[in-house]
């Protein structure tokens, strides 16, 4: 038991060290890189705490995609004005340190008190585990996401779509820097794309399929495909296009629409809203969600409303 404690303490120290580099580091770009490393360390901690779905999702979305979005936004700042982009005066003040220490103390007190209370399993969790066999799913997290708390997932997909629409509204009239090396036709890069693209598609669909019974699911699969999309954008295989196409817009709203169908269809059959319709319906909704998540995140990286094929 003590070896596990040593490993946990080491992991905790690594995490705090990386967070310190992010928060108090000097150069902005270094802070972004350290944030990506922090996200990957968090993924390790999720795996250690017995949450493999979270580990997959945090590695893909929290570390990878957030890092990529921040790097491309930083690059856009540099393109507009290189000197001012990194200008940062920190207004160090003792009051801020005191507030931060008090906040940390508050969080620690809440956590430690909650740990010291008598272990009471959450009521919702007990109900979920009790009724999980009725849904036919093996992965309780997918069950909670899609069956037991399906409205949360519907609203989450709506938030993703709203963030995309908001970004488009903000940047419609600017000529944003597009992160593509369109002139880069190196054999190595072509090999990378030729290997990664089929592999990513296969692994993404695999994660979607086994998400019902094992760690996986629509979000992990969608963010994996978004990562592949970012790679395609960076190597010039996909190019951002200014003219918005109907197919792209359809894939953007597919996830929200599928979940709306899931919510409303039982009403047509006489049941209560979002009643369980069977594993097939869940898989259908998850597939459309995966496509939607992948397209939204790739377009957020691209900075344009649509994509088109470049010269491969």
């Amino acid at each position: 038991m003590s070896a596990q404690l040593v490993i946990d303490v080491l992991l905790g120290l690594i995490l705090v060290g990386l967070a310190a580099q992010v928060a108090i580091g000097q150069h902005l770009f270094r802070a972004i890189v350290f944030y990506v490393a922090f996200g990957l360390a968090m993924a390790v901690i999720w795996a250690r705490l017995g949450a493999p779905d979270l580990a997959l999702a945090d590695a893909a979305i929290g570390a990878g995609l957030t890092g990529a979005l921040m790097m491309v936004a930083f690059r856009r700042l540099v393109e507009i004005d290189p000197k001012q982009a990194q200008a940062q005066a920190t207004r160090g003040s003792a009051l801020a340190v005191v507030i931060a220490v008090l906040a940390a103390g508050m969080v620690a007190t809440i956590g430690l008190t909650a740990l010291m209370l008598e272990e009471q399993p959450g009521v919702a969790g007990l109900q979920v585990m009790a009724t999980l066999e009725e849904t036919g799913l093996g992965n309780p997290v997918t069950g909670v996401l899609l069956v037991f708390r399906g409205f949360d997932t519907l609203i989450e997909m709506t938030v993703l779509l709203t963030a995309f629409i908001g970004s488009r509204v903000m940047t419609t009239h600017s000529r944003l820097y597009v992160a593509t090396l369109a002139g880069f036709q190196l054999p190595l890069v072509r090999t990378l794309v030729a290997v990664i693209l089929p592999l990513a598609s296969m692994v993404g669909i695999h994660l979607l399929w086994i998400g019902s019974d094992q760690p996986g699911g629509a979000f992990q699969a969608g963010s994996l495909l978004a990562g592949a999309g970012v790679l395609l954008l960076l190597t010039g295989t996909l190019l951002p296009a200014s003219k918005s196409r109907a197919l792209v817009r359809l894939t953007l709203v597919a996830g929200v629409s599928a979940l709306c169908v899931l919510v409303l269809a039982p009403i047509l059959r006489g049941q209560v809203a979002m009643a369980y319709l069977g594993r097939g319906s869940l898989l259908f909704a998850e597939a459309l969600m995966m496509i939607s998540i992948a397209t939204t995140l790739t377009l957020l990286f691209a900075g344009r409303p649509s994509l088109k094929w470049g010269r491969t």
Binding site: L186, L188, V189, T191, L192, V195, I196, L199
Partner: protein, 98 residues
């Protein structure tokens, strides 16, 4: 017995990755740092994958870890190549510690 072998592989893998990181921090030049990172880290990752597949015990685990190592190899190769090209294009000379 298998555990001891896996432990030996794990420790040597960690040593190589540590060496690669030390190289990245201490070597004078971006080109030298790329050497240290790609060569030492890939070898360290290979040793760690071998150790984990010994501990995993099943052929499926070993094949998946081999695939992971090959993907990491491909990614680090292409990244190092692109970084070196970019540095060359920006005419970063040898010995320029930046």
């Amino acid at each position: 017995m298998i555990d001891m072998l896996a432990l030996v592989f794990l420790i040597s893998g960690c040593f190589f990755i540590f060496a690669g990181t030390m190289g990245m921090l201490r070597l004078p030049d971006v080109y030298c740092r790329l050497h240290a990172l790609t060569k030492a880290d890939n070898l360290g990752l290979l040793l760690i994958c071998v150790a984990l597949s010994l501990l995993g015990g099943r052929v499926r685990v070993a094949l998946l870890l081999l695939l992971i190592w090959l993907l990491a190899l491909l990614a680090s190769t292409v990244s190092a190549h692109l970084i070196a090209r970019h540095s060359r294009a920006r005419q970063v000379s040898e010995g320029d510690n930046e």
